[in-house]
């Protein structure tokens, strides 16, 4: 039972931004929600999936983001309110559908929530998706705090329904994964019925077929919808100005950056000099409101993450308004007052404002900052990201890495997106040599595998996880089989979407709400398209390695090695150890070990530590999960595993 799915009107709770978004959807009477997991967006669907056990609501983890958009759109076409959720990259995946959807229009309220990750705190890039709103010509909203995250979703549904267009709502990591107080509104009873009307003419948006043709007509309609949205934006309560009537400097901002700006103004004590225009409706910008605010200040600082999207749109508007409001001086990313890459924080905004207003500011006494910096340099060695203790990927990459070396033909592995992306780093022995979008590892391998006639004779491998396999690897694998590309795909099947917290996917026998669902067998799928398939337990190093070596040396065409072992963090595994581990200190050769401390210097499971005084390896019982793998690593047999009774 989740309190988020109880009425509790007017009660206030500490909610994560993503929970606030989910609550907003519930308060809007959402009927269908679909998404694909991706940090920082995953908790929205998770929360709704839990709520679906209490309320009339269908929630799914779709196979990928494009399908999620389509599933949500179908509900809208049938007259229901529906939500689709993804991280930024997902919008790229779904964008082909997005463009057509903008053209065809929608019926029941349809809201796309996308969570961007400025600074790439948990992503392989810091790309953002606000520009899709401009590209496909649909409205864009950006909540500025937690309460707004909830309230704005509700408003977005109403807006979408009024103008019959998809509405985008953008969150960022610092909202989605931050928490703040949110006061609940009412939860409606959901008595909506689904029915798809399709008997009318092509030109009838409510009764006809839903398509983006005839293009000129539908495109014109779409622009009319945007105009209607702008009208509502002009007096939206999500656009808030605070500060003096005629500020020396006007900050225009949105999203989490508004909180940073507020903080900067406060710390500098410049409330009477700087105005803050927080926009919640960021595309298209409402011109009347902008004219009023920008007419009152000569200097404008635009604070946003990551690309200067708002800045460019504001500048276009100011150019158009120049005859009325005069020429303005802009500060922001373009001119360089704010950094062009990475996420912002209160200090970066503070720095920008203090430069523009020529105020001196010190966060702490200079001597303190200097000394703390010196000490941190010696006292706080950095922490590289690593696979968890007992992670099956460490064992898998140990085998892949060693076999590639043994094979001796300079083979390489194309990487993919998941925990195993970390195999770029020493924790995975630097095994991955490319890393791009979901499914790209196999697509690249498919291409590399065809370069034989140009003299390329290096073995080509790709890896992917079980969830990624279904998301985007499958078409690439089909491509490789059909074109007789000579590659080996290693599927790291750890029974879940580990990176983002064990969401379900089509390979598992459960769905998003934890109910039983038919699972699709990866090895069966691969066999049916004609690949040579082997399955091993990566914890059995010898077996895995000889199987892989055989595949590389003896077989041609597409080979698939499925390494099956549950993630160390999975709830079913976490509480129990398979083995009690100990080091036989008399057998461990320590510094004299010919292996050059293979265990702690190369294999580096954090459960193994180096006893500085004793000069032998030790097991850290607090960290070791008892997977037993390191016992097979030590050439002297000094690491001993004993089965836990």
């Amino acid at each position: 039972m989740s309190y988020l799915a109880d009425d509790r009107k007017n009660e206030t709770y500490l909610l994560m931004g993503n929970e606030a978004i989910a609550r907003g959807a519930l308060e809007a009477g959402v009927s269908v929600a679909a998404g694909y997991p991706g940090t920082p967006s995953s908790e929205i669907i998770e929360t709704l999936a839990e709520a679906s056990n209490q309320r009339k609501l269908y929630v799914e983890w779709s196979v990928n983001e494009k399908v999620a958009m389509e599933v949500a759109a179908a509900a809208s076409f049938a007259g229901l309110r529906s939500l689709c959720v993804m991280k930024q990259n997902g919008v790229n995946v779904g964008s082909d559908f997005l463009l057509h959807l903008a053209g065809s229009g929608t019926r029941g309220g349809l809201v796309l929530v996308h969570c961007d990750d400025p600074g790439a705190l948990s992503s392989a890039n810091e790309g953002e998706s606000r520009h899709f709103a401009r590209l496909v010509e649909i409205p864009l909203l950006e909540p500025g705090d937690f309460q707004e995250a909830k309230d704005m979703i509700k408003w977005a549904f109403a807006l979408s329904e009024e103008i019959k267009s998809l509405v985008m709502v953008r969150s960022v990591t610092r909202l989605s994964h931050a928490s703040g107080n949110v006061t609940f509104g009412q939860l409606p009873e959901n008595d909506s019925k689904a029915y798809f009307r399709h008997g009318g003419t092509f030109l009838d948006p409510l009764e006809g077929p839903l398509i983006s043709l005839p293009v000129a007509y539908k495109h014109g309609q779409q622009q009319e919808k945007l105009r209607q949205a702008v009208d509502r934006f002009e007096d939206s309560s999500f656009n808030i100005y605070s500060g003096p009537e005629f500020p020396e400097l006007l900050i225009v901002t949105s999203s989490a950056c508004h909180l940073y700006s507020k903080e900067a103004i406060n710390l500098l004590g410049v409330e009477d000099r700087v105005g803050l225009l927080k926009l919640g409706t960021t595309w298209p910008l409402p011109p009347k409101l902008m004219r009023k605010q920008m007419g009152r200040s000569d200097k404008i600082l635009v604070v946003e993450e990551v690309i200067p999207f708002l800045e460019e749109n504001v500048k276009i508007l100011v150019a158009e308004l120049a005859p009325e409001i005069g020429i303005k001086t802009f500060f922001g990313k373009k001119e360089g007052t704010l950094p062009k890459v990475g996420e912002l924080n209160p200090d970066l905004v503070l720095d920008a404002v203090s430069k523009i207003l020529q105020i001196d500011y010190e966060p702490a006494p200079q001597a303190y900052i200097k000394r703390a910096g010196e000490l941190a340099a010696v006292a706080a060695p950095g922490r590289d990201l690593i696979f968890c203790p007992g992670c099956p990927h460490r064992a898998s990459f140990w085998s892949i890495h060693n076999i590639l070396q043994m094979d001796g033909r300079d083979g390489f592995v194309c990487g993919d997106i998941g925990c195993y992306s970390l195999a770029m780093l020493p924790t995975g022995f630097g095994t991955l040599k490319t890393l791009h979008a979901m499914g790209s590892g196999t697509g690249l391998a498919s291409g590399f595998g065809k370069l034989g006639r140009f003299g390329m004779d290096q073995p080509v491998l790709a890896v992917c996880g079980d969830s990624t396999f279904f998301h985007a690897v499958l078409p690439a694998l089909v491509n490789a089989v059909h074109h007789k590309s000579n590659i080996t795909l290693v599927v790291l099947d750890n029974s879940g979407t580990a990176m983002t917290g064990f969401q379900s996917h089509p390979g598992l026998p459960v769905d998003a709400a934890g109910k039983e669902a038919p699972s699709i067998d990866i090895s069966g799928v691969c066999e049916s398209i004609g690949a040579t398939v082997k399955v091993c337990d990566p914890f059995k190093l010898e077996d895995t390695q000889s199987t892989l070596l055989n595949l590389l040396e003896k077989e041609t065409g597409v080979k698939v090695l499925i390494l099956r072992q549950i993630c160390a963090l999975s709830p079913e595994k976490k509480s129990k150890k398979m083995y009690d581990m100990k080091i036989d200190e008399t057998t461990c050769l320590g510094e004299n070990c010919g292996c050059n401390r293979l265990c702690t210097r190369i294999f580096k499971c954090p459960g193994l530590i180096w006893g500085k005084e004793e000069k032998v390896a030790k097991i850290d019982d607090v960290i070791c999960t008892g997977c037993g793998v390191c016992a097979s690593i030590c050439p002297s047999g000094a690491i001993i595993k004993k089965e836990v009774a």
Partner: protein, 207 residues
């Protein structure tokens, strides 16, 4: 207006540690305790990749007036609760100032660079001195050790919350703690967590 129950307003607190130590849970529990007191709470944290052995931080902003940014401005932390000693210094570098106070769990978690011998982990003696030098007050407790005695090292995070209650900067009530952790936790687990909380309180009083 009622006088704020906080030592400073906003009260800025960092909970830091290494991915997997229960940072997020600790910050949520404390945040909910403060929220029950009617205070405005903002928590900023990152999870995802950094949970894989990286340094993690939760920023708590507690105020009786308004909500603040999910990132504490540089130099403005009033309190650092550290689940791992070297993380204390890392946080002090960015968010510390001469007035900052620290509660530090003394159990090290070695970065891979240290395990492999490429980096050096300082001695606890050195760490203590450096942390003292950079703070107004520093308490050192072996929470992991006490948690292991309680049956699971993961209780270390709750023990640190108990210890924070002992410092008295925040209006932390044991009854709020119990109410917060009882949400969605089976009874025996609640008992164990209450014990951890109390042990934390005792540990800090014994320093």
């Amino acid at each position: 207006m009622e006088k704020t129950p906080l030592a400073s307003d906003p009260y800025n607190l960092v909970i830091t540690g290494v991915g997997g130590q229960g940072n997020v849970m600790a910050s949520r529990v404390l945040g909910n305790m403060m929220s029950r007191k009617g205070l405005n709470v903002t928590i900023g944290e990152t999870f995802g990749a950094s949970q894989r052995g990286g340094s993690v931080m939760s920023h708590l902003r507690i105020s009786s007036e308004t909500s603040w940014s999910p990132q504490i401005p540089k130099g403005k932390a009033h309190m650092i609760v550290a689940l791992e000693p070297i993380e204390t210094v890392r946080v002090l570098r960015d968010y510390g100032g001469p007035e900052t106070r620290v509660i530090c769990n003394t159990r090290p978690i070695h970065p891979v660079g240290v395990i492999s011998g490429d980096q050096v982990y300082p001695s606890l003696e050195e760490l203590r001195n450096w942390i003292k030098e950079l703070t107004a007050t520093a308490w050192f407790i072996d929470a992991t050790d006490a948690a292991v005695r309680l049956g699971d090292p993961i209780f270390g995070n709750i023990m640190m919350i108990g210890a924070l209650a002992g410092v008295g900067d925040l209006p932390m009530d044991r009854s709020d703690f119990e109410a917060v952790i009882s949400q969605g936790m089976p009874k025996p687990k609640v008992e164990a967590n209450l014990k951890a909380y109390d042990m934390g309180l005792e540990l800090i009083e014994a320093v």
